[in-house]
C-alpha cells in the first residue's frame, strides 16, 4: 500500500475529478471567421487531453471535429497543438499540461491547410512521403540488408507514424509552402540507408533541391516535438552530408579528368 502511494500515478485518487477549461480553436468553412470556444470539462487528472475533447463532443458540442483512432500514439492521426506545443493528445495526461481549474488550449497543427476545427489537410504531406518512396515492409517479409550497416539506425525511422507534428513545428515549413518538410526528408534518408528496391539515386536527386534538404535552417524543432524519437533534423543533416560528400567527390573527379 505504501509502495502504491509513492508511485506518482497512484498518488492520484482514482475518483478525483478536476474542472478544466478547454479553449478550443473553431473554424467551419461555412461560418466565417475562426474563433475560440470555451468548454468546462470534469475530468480525472490521469485522463488524456483527447479524453477531454471526446467528452466535449459527446456531452456538449457534436459539431466539434478532431481526428483520433488508436488512442496509444500508433496511428498519428490525432496530432494538434496543446498549449501551443505540437503533441499527440491521446498520450498527454491532463495533469501534464495544467492543474485543477486550469485551462487547456487546443489548436490545429500549423503549416497545413485547415479543414474544420482541429482537423487539417495532410494530403500534400502524405504525397511528399510518397515522393521520397517511403515504404514500410512487414517484418515477416525478407529484407536484403547490408551486414555492415547498423540495424539500430534502420529501425529508428520505422518509428515515423506520419503524424505531421514535425511539419507544424518547423519554422521553415511556415515560410515556404514548397519545402518538403522534416518527415519526407527523414524518410528520404531512411530509403537511402536501406533502399529496399528503390533507386537511391532518384531519392537523392529528389531531396537535392532548393525546397529539399538545403532549405532547412537548422532550428531542430522537428526533433523536439517528434513523439516517436525519429530525430528528423539529424536525418536531414546526414542527408546533406551525404550529398555534400558526393558533390565534392564529383568535383575532384572532374578535376582529375580535366588534367588527364
Amino acid at each position: 500500500m505504501k509502495q502504491e502511494m509513492s508511485d506518482p500515478v497512484m498518488a492520484f485518487d482514482g475518483n478525483e475529478l478536476w474542472t478544466i477549461h478547454y479553449r478550443v480553436f473553431r473554424y467551419k468553412r461555412s461560418s466565417g471567421k475562426p474563433h475560440y470556444d470555451k468548454f468546462n470539462v470534469e475530468i480525472a487528472p490521469h485522463e488524456t487531453v483527447l479524453d477531454g475533447l471526446e467528452k466535449i463532443w459527446a456531452f456538449q458540442d457534436r459539431s466539434l471535429t478532431f481526428r483520433h483512432a488508436c488512442h496509444h500514439a500508433s496511428c498519428g492521426s490525432c496530432g494538434i497543438r496543446v498549449n501551443g506545443v505540437e503533441k499527440l493528445p491521446c498520450i498527454v495526461p491532463i495533469r501534464e499540461v495544467t492543474r485543477d481549474g486550469g485551462t487547456v488550449l487546443c489548436e490545429p497543427l500549423r503549416n497545413f491547410p485547415l479543414v474544420s476545427d482541429l482537423v487539417v489537410d495532410l494530403g500534400q504531406f502524405y504525397r511528399r512521403l510518397e515522393e521520397a518512396h517511403f515504404q514500410i515492409i512487414r517484418s515477416s517479409e525478407p529484407i536484403e540488408r547490408d551486414e555492415h550497416e547498423s540495424s539500430n539506425v534502420h529501425t529508428r525511422f520505422e518509428n515515423c507514424i506520419e503524424c505531421g507534428l514535425c511539419v507544424s513545428a518547423c519554422p521553415v515549413s511556415g515560410t515556404d509552402g514548397l519545402y518538403f518538410g522534416p518527415a519526407a526528408l527523414a524518410a528520404s534518408w531512411r530509403m537511402i540507408q536501406e533502399p529496399r528496391g528503390v533507386d537511391p539515386l532518384s531519392v537523392r536527386s529528389n531531396a537535392d533541391q532548393e525546397h529539399g534538404c538545403w532549405r532547412c535552417h537548422v532550428a531542430f524543432e522537428c526533433s523536439e516535438v517528434c513523439p516517436s524519437n525519429v530525430d528528423p533534423a539529424a536525418a536531414i543533416m546526414a542527408l546533406r552530408q551525404d550529398l555534400l560528400k558526393r558533390k565534392l567527390l564529383r568535383l575532384f573527379q572532374r578535376g582529375d579528368h580535366d588534367r588527364a
Partner: protein, 129 residues
C-alpha cells in the same frame, strides 16, 4: 492587397510565430533579424562614407555625432548583431554539413557564451576608449 501579397505577408509573419517553440526557432529568428540588420547597416555605412566626398566639415560633424552616448549604444547593438550572426553561423555551417549534429545544442550555447564574453569586452572598450 492581392491574395498573393496577403499570403506572402502571412508567411513572413510566420517567422514571428513563437508559440510553443524552443531555442532553435529563437536562434533561427534572431539569425534572420540580425542578418537584415547587418544588411541595413552596410547600406547606412556606405551612405555615411559618401559624406567624405562632401568635404571636411560634413565629416567632422558626423564624427562628433558618432561619439555621442546614443551612437555608442548603437555601436554595441551592431557588435551584438555581428557576434550573434557570425557565431550562430558557425553552428549552422558545421551542423548543416553534418558535423557535430548530436552536440548542436552544446555548440550553440558554448558559442553564445563566447559571444556574451566578447560583447562585454567590446562594449567596455567602446565606452572607455
Amino acid at each position: 492587397m492581392t491574395e498573393h501579397e496577403e499570403r506572402r505577408v502571412r508567411k513572413t509573419l510566420a517567422w514571428l510565430d513563437m508559440a510553443g517553440r524552443k531555442a532553435g526557432t529563437w536562434a533561427f529568428l534572431l539569425n534572420r533579424l540580425t542578418g537584415l540588420g547587418l544588411l541595413l547597416y552596410l547600406l547606412l555605412h556606405l551612405g555615411v562614407l559618401s559624406l567624405l566626398a562632401m568635404g571636411e566639415m560634413q565629416w567632422d560633424a558626423f564624427i562628433a555625432l558618432a561619439r555621442s552616448p546614443l551612437f555608442l549604444v548603437l555601436d554595441v547593438v551592431l557588435i551584438f548583431g555581428i557576434l550573434y550572426h557570425g557565431l550562430n553561423g558557425i553552428r549552422v555551417a558545421l551542423v548543416g554539413m553534418g558535423i557535430g549534429v548530436r552536440w548542436q545544442k552544446g555548440i550553440f550555447w558554448t558559442l553564445m557564451g563566447l559571444g556574451v564574453l566578447l560583447l562585454a569586452i567590446t562594449g567596455w572598450l567602446v565606452f572607455t576608449m
